[in-house]
Every structure is written in structure tokens, then in C-alpha cells.
């Protein structure tokens, strides 16, 4: 009842246009800010999410740039590897161990006459994205597990098989085939069985378990060139300019295709930044207009407020009343902006799914957190303005 009477005394109707302007400004500002947060989260999800194959971008295989200057000295020294490990933008470094013996791989079946000379590489298990219990080897094993790059199979299926009149093979079929692996030693050829246990895009060579590589190199390998020449690094952000600069400075090179993400990143960053800055500036202006609106309302009712306080209304009662007049509209705006971004996200999810890109259909917790933060900022602004101007008229 008291508030109903206060509503008649302190009329908030004056300056409605300003109020509407502030509301529109605030709505757009919040839409931009929430979108910026959501785009950033979506992009990170695309980069790091398990559901997206793009995680390959975080693993870069690096080696020395081979040119007339570096010819013959392309190995990586221990110091260079140590230096790599110390860089803040590199999370982990794995040495790629090449096989130091001659080897070839062929099929047992006559119907599928397949033979190629090949070399293997191995890398610590933590750098491999194929999780299978078959990925282990000891001397009792009757076959060597191998991981092949997807591009090998693509090359076979879409070029080689056609030219040789061989059948096309799916990943499942390839995994069932037992290959014959020949290793040429000083005393003759030794034969093993080999099986493809998985495919990966991360490292573009035929991988064998580190245990087999070490054992085979020790038994059959030449002792020359034991220093590694390739390494794989894990990084959170392959588009990081510091990383790109470091590689260039140390004459190192990597799979250029993967750096396409750095270009995407720049574009996304630009969009996110523009959205942020515009949103922040608009929020600032909206806050300013809101503050002015509250100020105007209080100033236009200053006699009434003074009389109310004279009659015994407490500044606390008046502040609470004014907060109830102004603040709910702010919460409604935040909620509407949040719902709009949620709807956009849902549409985006559906749209991208058609292109086999997966983003969550819901907005992220960070976006909701941002909304809560904005509500806090709005509350503080409202509260401070009201407190300041009430006490100004209550001296």
C-alpha cells in the first residue's frame, strides 16, 4: 500500500523516451556482448572439442627447414629440444623416432598383391589420438600394431586401387588384413606380421609402438644418425603468433595446412573483438542514459522526496522503492537478450550440423555467467545512482 502511494507521488513517467532509448541501447549492447562470449566459446569448442576432428590442429609435427644452407644438418639437437620444451606456448614435445633399417610391407594374399617399401616412425603414446588396447608390443606379440594416416588410405582408395585394378578398402576391412612386414638385416630378411589398428590425421607417417621401434632399432638398426630430426609438439593455440614467430626464427617448419586455423582465428578474433568493443561502448552509454534517467526522475520529484523524508519515510524505504521501479526492467532486458542468444545458438547448431560441424545447441555457462555479471554491474549502477541522489536531496 505504501509503495502504491509512493508510485503516485514519485512519478517515473517523466522522460519516457529517454527510458525507451536506454532500454533499446542496453538490449543491443547485451546482445552483442553475449554473442561475443558465445562465439568465442563456440570457436574454442570447435578447436578443442572431442566431437570435432579439428583437434589435429593442436599437434604440429615440426622439422628443420630443408634448403641449400641446412642441407645435411637437419637433426634436432638436445638443446634445441630442451628449448622447445621451455616455451610457454608449447605444452609438450614428443620425439618422433624413425626406423633405422630397411623395411617393406606386403600382403599375404595373391588376390590382393600389394607391396611397398616403407619406413616407420614412433612417438610417445600420449601423442596418439587412437585409443585401442591393441596399441602395445612386446617380443611375444605375434603381430606389430600400426597406425596409418587417413591420407594413406585415401591415396590407395582414390588413386592407387583404380590404376592397379584393386578393390577399394574401408577402414574396417583394412583393420582385418594381416600384412607381412619385412625387415632387412645384415644377415638376411626377417619377417613379422603387422596389422593396422587405427587411423589418424595427427601424424602423417606409419606409426608403430615405441617399444617395437626401440627394440628393432637396437637389434637391426644402423648406429648412425641416432639424433632425431622430427618432433611433434602439443599447443593450445596453433594460431598463436608467438609460436609461428618462434618456429620461423629457429628455422623450423610445420605442416602449413594446419596453420589455416590461425587465419580463421584472426577472423573470429576480429569479429569477437568488434562485437565486444561495440557492446561494451553501447553498454557504457546505456548505463549513462539509465543513470541520467534515474537522476532526472529523482530531481523532478525532489520536493516530494524531501517532504516524504520530513514526514518520516526512511531513505532506505525510498531507495528500495526506486530500485523496484528501475531494476526489474534491467533484469527483463538481460533475460530477453540471453534468450535471444540462446535461440540464435540453437539455430546455429542446426545450421552447422548440416555441414557436419558440431557446436552445442545450448549457450555456454560462461555466457550465463556474463549475464549475471552484467546484472551485478546494472544493480551496482542503479543502487549507487539512487543512493547518491536520494542523499543529495536529504541534507
Amino acid at each position: 500500500m505504501f509503495y502504491q502511494l509512493l508510485q503516485k507521488i514519485i512519478r517515473t513517467a517523466s522522460g519516457r523516451t529517454r527510458f525507451v532509448m536506454a532500454i533499446i541501447g542496453l538490449s543491443i549492447a547485451l546482445l552483442l556482448i553475449f554473442s561475443a562470449v558465445q562465439i568465442e566459446i563456440n570457436y574454442n569448442e570447435l578447436l578443442h572439442g572431442k566431437t570435432n576432428q579439428d583437434s589435429i590442429a593442436n599437434f604440429l609435427v615440426i622439422n628443420k627447414l630443408l634448403n641449400s644452407k641446412s642441407y645435411g644438418t637437419t637433426t634436432l639437437s638436445n638443446n634445441e629440444i630442451k628449448n622447445l620444451q621451455q616455451q610457454p606456448f608449447i605444452d609438450a614435445v614428443g620425439i618422433l623416432t624413425p626406423s633405422r633399417y630397411k623395411s617393406s610391407i606386403q600382403s599375404y594374399s595373391d588376390r590382393f598383391p600389394f607391396f611397398t617399401e616403407i619406413s616407420f616412425e614412433s612417438v610417445p603414446a600420449t601423442f596418439i589420438d587412437v585409443t585401442t588396447k591393441d596399441w602395445q608390443w612386446n617380443e611375444q606379440n605375434n603381430y606389430i600394431p600400426m597406425i596409418a594416416p587417413n591420407m594413406f588410405l585415401d591415396f590407395y582408395n582414390f588413386q592407387f586401387s583404380l590404376s592397379q585394378n584393386l578393390p577399394q578398402l574401408t577402414q574396417e576391412v583394412v583393420k582385418m588384413i594381416v600384412f607381412k612386414v619385412n625387415i632387412t638385416t645384415a644377415t638376411g630378411v626377417i619377417t613379422f606380421n603387422g596389422k593396422i589398428v587405427g587411423f589418424s590425421d595427427r601424424i602423417t607417417s606409419l606409426l608403430v609402438p615405441q617399444e617395437f621401434m626401440d627394440w628393432a632399432n637396437q637389434h637391426y638398426g644402423s648406429s648412425q644418425n641416432t639424433q632425431p630430426s622430427r618432433a611433434v609438439i602439443r599447443t593450445k593455440d596453433p594460431g598463436n603468433p608467438l609460436l609461428v614467430g618462434y618456429l620461423k626464427e629457429h628455422n623450423l617448419t610445420t605442416d602449413a595446412d594446419k596453420t589455416r586455423f590461425s587465419k580463421y582465428r584472426q577472423i573470429v578474433n576480429a569479429i569477437v573483438n568488434i562485437s565486444w568493443i561495440t557492446g561494451a561502448v553501447m553498454l557504457l552509454f546505456a548505463l549513462l542514459i539509465f543513470t541520467l534517467f534515474i537522476q532526472l526522475t529523482i530531481a523532478s520529484c525532489k520536493d516530494e522526496i524531501q517532504l516524504l523524508i520530513t514526514l518520516g519515510a526512511s531513505p532506505k524505504q525510498l531507495k528500495l522503492f526506486l530500485l523496484k521501479q528501475f531494476f526489474p526492467s534491467n533484469i527483463i532486458i538481460v533475460v530477453i537478450a540471453l534468450i535471444s542468444v540462446a535461440a540464435l545458438q540453437y539455430i546455429l547448431h542446426d545450421f552447422l550440423l548440416q555441414q557436419n560441424i558440431f557446436v552445442s545447441s545450448y549457450i555456454s555457462a560462461y555466457t550465463v555467467l556474463t549475464a549475471l555479471l552484467v546484472i551485478t554491474v546494472l544493480w551496482v549502477t542503479n543502487h549507487r545512482t539512487i543512493s547518491t541522489y536520494i542523499s543529495l536531496h536529504n541534507k
Binding site: 523524508i309 514526514l311 518520516g312 536529504n394
Partner: protein, 215 residues
């Protein structure tokens, strides 16, 4: 609650008051609970100033005013509001109604500003006693001074209080209406075991005063 005045002198009128005999200015004086105090003074001698100092509306005076031994200079704004809602009610000489609210709304405001002690129908009952039922739904700004004064009287009586401060409360009323208003005021003060301080120009017998002072 009691008022204690320690040598108060309004600063703007300091020179005039220092030369004049007064029962209040520059005196040590205490108003005890349930006292009915009449303060008589001619125009322009500071009656309203005195009421406003007691109500902590003016700060331009020397000396101290204490509510129950608390110096009112030390009372914070929110505490002061509670005192005005619970302990001290006031009828201003200049009435101070909200002109855009109806008579009933002006009174209701003071009834519900704190936890109400009376039901809403008290407004009608009191208005009936003072003969202003017919203007209850009228905007206060459109009422005559006599009617406004009676609205202000009722407004001061619908809240809890220990003290009622009245600054020439009957200045716009004829004898008959003054009598009715004084009866209602006395009745309400008795109900609350409250005291009052009333200022006026002349002698009168509206109440059984316990103390008569010259300003």
C-alpha cells in the same frame, strides 16, 4: 521518551534572543513524558523555528537537543526516520500535504509508512469527527485551508507516537471545529500515553496543560 534542551539559541536570531526574556531560548529545560506543553508567543518570535529544531529539521542553532539523552546531531538519517514513524508525530503550520494525492491518501500514507497501528477505517472515523468525510476523495490541493488543516491533524494521529508537535494547528479553524479537533487530539494522546507541545499566539483552554511557557 523525553526532550532535553541545553541552551539552544537559533543562530540567525542570536542577537535578538540574547536580549529578550524567554522560558526556552538559552535555558536548560526538559519535557517529560505525557506532559501537555503550551508555548505562547507573538508572531515572528521563533515558534516554527523551535518546532523545527525539536523535529530535527533545522540545524542552525547553538546548544544541544537530546532525545532521551541522545544528542540529535548524532542521529543518523535512517534512525531519524524510525523516530518520526514511531516516536514523534507533527502537525506543520504550513500543513505540508501532497497536493496531488487525495485527502484520504495523504492520511493513508502516514498510516502505512510503518507497521499500521490502526485499521484503514480509522480515517473515515476521524474524518467524521472533524466533519471532512465529504472531501476525503478530493485532491488535497483543491481543499480549503480549514479542510487541509484537519487533514493534517488526522494524518498526524494515525501513526504511533510518544510526542505530538503542533505548530499553530488550529490557525485556520473556527471555534467549533477547533474544539472538535482538540477533543480528538486529547483522546489520541491519552490512548498512547503521549505528550504534546503546541505553539499558539494566544491563551486558550483547549487542553489541560501541564506547563505553559513563553518563547
Amino acid at each position: 521518551m523525553q526532550f532535553q534542551l541545553n541552551h539552544i539559541v537559533p543562530t540567525p536570531l542570536k542577537d535578538i534572543f540574547s536580549q529578550r526574556q524567554s522560558d526556552i531560548w538559552n535555558k536548560d529545560i526538559t519535557f517529560f513524558k505525557e506532559e501537555y506543553i503550551k508555548i505562547k508567543a507573538p508572531s515572528g518570535t521563533g515558534k516554527t523555528t523551535f518546532i523545527h529544531i525539536l523535529y530535527k529539521l533545522r540545524h542552525d542553532f547553538e546548544g544541544h537537543v537530546l532525545y532521551d539523552s541522545i544528542n540529535i546531531a548524532d542521529i543518523q538519517k535512517d534512525e531519524l526516520a524510525i523516530i518520526r514513524q514511531q516516536k514523534i508525530s507533527i502537525i506543520f503550520q504550513d500543513l505540508r500535504l501532497f497536493p496531488n494525492l487525495t485527502a484520504a491518501e495523504n492520511i493513508e500514507l502516514k498510516r502505512v509508512m510503518q507497521t499500521p497501528i490502526y485499521e484503514k477505517n480509522i480515517i473515515h472515523e476521524m474524518a467524521e469527527k472533524l466533519g471532512i468525510v465529504h472531501i476525503l476523495k478530493q485532491k488535497a490541493g483543491l481543499c480549503s485551508y480549514g479542510e487541509q488543516q484537519r487533514i493534517a491533524i488526522i494524518r498526524a494521529l494515525v501513526q504511533p507516537f510518544d510526542w505530538l508537535l503542533m505548530d499553530e494547528p488550529f490557525s485556520h479553524l473556527d471555534e467549533q471545529n477547533t474544539h472538535k479537533a482538540a477533543l480528538l487530539i486529547a483522546e489520541e494522546c491519552a490512548k498512547r500515553k503521549a505528550g504534546f507541545i503546541i505553539t499558539d499566539l494566544d491563551e486558550d483552554n483547549h487542553f489541560n496543560y501541564t506547563k505553559k511557557l513563553l518563547l
